[in-house]
């Protein structure tokens, strides 16, 4: 493994760490204030394409260490896409089978990608991002498989697995601290399983308790895959953004900054923009979960003009 020449023995060596962080890129033309340095941390440059590489790897490694996978036992996991894609690619590269239980509303691209990555797909009627606990839907269908066929399936369960939080304490937090040389004042994130926000903020607040952690959530009834609307969480500020702006801002990031960011990144940018106009000074980092490639069908639904003029 050599991070200078970028020659690796296997794909797993490319996973992000303090020594090999995902890139941070400054926002220029879309900078909301000249006195506020704003950066985007591009998680789609992780080897399996999203921020979920971190949690997926941490969960899988722990299961391997505990001997919970292998010898015919694979994985079953409820996912709105990215965790499943990371887990599926990793699992197949390690020789395990995997079944992904996905809510019906997940974009077609993600469902097909899961199959391409080697997952057996179970599509269920469910909310876009299922809440943990006693609800029904994808989480409980996955739990049913794991409970009924324990010899065949182990369930990482990103919603309740502390490795999801620890992964960000070990990697995302230290990366940001080092990349900003400790100057970070604002962290902007979105909420899915809440692993990113919990782990990263725990690390950064341990270094500097005055860092503001702003969790941006889409308005209720939203259509932004992978994200959750929650009413209570231990963050400095929960900031709600009209979900349709996620798509408009993603488009703007693509066309103005050259950042091919997905809708959740667009949502985070909009939250950051509104906070920065108020706070004026600071040093911000936005964690951009993934890029736009998996969302062309969603973009066509929400951005006028994309769906037309595509045929001769």
């Amino acid at each position: 493994m050599n991070h200078q020449t970028r020659v690796y023995n296997d794909i797993f060596e490319m996973l992000p760490s303090e020594e090999n962080p995902s890139p941070m890129v400054r926002i220029n033309r879309m900078s909301p204030s000249p006195d506020f340095e704003l950066h985007a941390k591009l998680e789609w440059l992780n080897p399996f394409g999203s921020v979920k590489d971190r949690a997926a790897w941490a969960m899988l490694r722990e299961m391997e260490e505990k001997g919970e996978v292998g010898h015919g036992r694979g994985l079953v996991e409820p996912t709105s896409g990215n965790t499943g894609i990371s887990l599926a690619a990793m699992a197949k590269a390690r020789g395990y089978h995997i079944r992904a239980v996905v809510p019906n509303k997940v974009p077609l691209e993600k469902k097909v990608l899961l199959k391409i990555a080697g997952a057996e797909l179970d599509v269920v009627n469910d909310a876009l991002c299922p809440a943990p606990g006693l609800g029904d839907g994808s989480i409980n269908i996955a739990k049913s498989h794991a409970k009924a066929q324990a010899k065949k399936y182990a369930m990482p369960n990103q919603y309740e697995n502390e490795q999801n939080v620890l992964a960000h304490m070990r990697t995302t937090g230290p990366e940001i601290w080092r990349q900003t040389e400790g100057k970070v004042t604002h962290l902007f994130v979105s909420l899915g399983t809440c692993g990113t926000v919990s782990g990263t903020s725990r690390f950064l607040k341990g270094k500097n308790s005055s860092i503001k952690v702003i969790a941006v959530q889409p308005t209720e009834g939203h259509d932004v895959p992978g994200l959750r609307n929650v009413s209570q969480l231990g963050v400095s500020k929960l900031f709600e953004v009209e979900y349709k702006l996620a798509y408009a801002r993603a488009m703007e990031l693509c066309q103005t900054e050259g950042l091919l960011a997905g809708p959740s990144s667009g949502l985070i940018y909009e939250g950051a923009r509104e906070i920065i106009l108020r706070d004026k000074k600071g040093f911000g980092v936005m964690i951009f979960p993934d890029n736009i490639f998996k969302y062309t069908s969603n973009m066509m639904k929400h951005i006028p003009g994309l769906a037309t003029g595509n045929e001769a």
């Binding site: 179970d122 269908i141 409970k147 009924a148």
Partner: protein, 282 residues
């Protein structure tokens, strides 16, 4: 489960675990998501599909007497058996099944309090994908109780006269007409809103965080004191297709012990499609 009017119609998950193998006890799972049973069910439980097995496949109706006899006979159930129903979504369709069993006069039918999610999340409970062993029976229906079911003309009359309580158990947005059905549901109506005179008491008001029913005192306070259901009058519960209202029907009839409670299974997908029927919004 003390204080419920008829506590014998509810069993705990622990009771089910302890009585799984008891002769004369039959378990039936009925889910909203018909894939749930296949993913894993309680050992020995039979699965009924509400779409294909509990509904007439030609006209819009519950299954007829012969079809019910055939279904239960094929599932190895006898009229004397204790039947335990459970399912997903806090027993929505399990409650619908309960109502159907009562219409066809099955004596001893009970709900597993908390449904499949409670069972699933308890460490000492197991699931299996093994099919149950079934010995078919000749099931005979000897009495029917159609008085448990409200039909459209009766509902129209209640709406006009106020001679019975009308309880709308759908979500506040369905009641107000903001949405016609919960997202992703294929059965819908031409119009949104509610039946004039109906009170909004969403079905979920009756359950606790873990999916089990609230205590008799809490239910009494919610339905009678707070929501103003008049216990001296008959009551009709409705929702969209009659499954959530079966849940409230169960609560009102068996847990609170109200006299004369009916389920209007035509519900909003019938009423909201009727030409010229009066509708209230908001």
């Amino acid at each position: 489960m003390a204080n419920y009017a008829q506590p014998e119609v509810l069993v705990t998950t622990d009771w089910v675990r302890d009585n799984l193998e008891k002769p004369g006890t039959k378990l039936v799972e009925i889910d909203v998501d018909t894939k749930a049973y296949d993913a894993g069910h309680i050992p020995g439980a039979i699965g009924f599909n509400w779409q294909t097995q509990l509904q007439d496949q030609v006209r819009r109706d519950i299954i007829g007497k012969e079809a019910f006899e055939k279904l239960l006979g094929g599932a190895g159930i006898s009229p004397k058996d204790t039947v335990i129903l459970y399912g997903d979504n806090n027993n929505w369709f399990a409650a619908y099944g309960f109502w159907l069993f009562k219409i066809y006069g099955h004596k001893d039918v009970r709900l597993m309090n908390g449904g499949r999610v409670k069972w699933l999340n308890e460490k000492d409970k197991s699931l299996t994908t093994d099919p149950p062993k079934i010995t078919p029976t000749q099931y005979k229906v000897t009495e029917t109780h159609l008085e448990l079911r409200a039909m459209l003309p009766e509902v129209m009359d209640i709406s006009k006269t106020g001679k019975a309580n009308l309880v709308d158990v759908r979500s506040p947005d369905e009641f107000s007409g903001k949405v016609i059905a919960p997202p992703g549901m294929s059965e819908t109506a031409q119009r949104g809103g509610h039946i004039p005179g109906a009170r909004s008491v969403p079905w979920s008001t009756a359950v606790q965080q873990d999916g089990t029913f609230k205590s008799a005192d809490e239910l009494q306070s919610i339905y009678i004191q707070q929501k103003g259901v008049d216990s001296t009058k008959p009551t009709v519960a409705y929702c969209r297709i009659g499954e959530r209202s079966s849940h409230t029907w169960f609560v009102l009839k068996y847990l609170l012990g109200l006299d004369n409670v009916k389920n209007y299974d035509g519900s909003w997908t019938e009423y909201g499609n009727v030409v010229a029927a009066p509708i209230e919004k908001g």
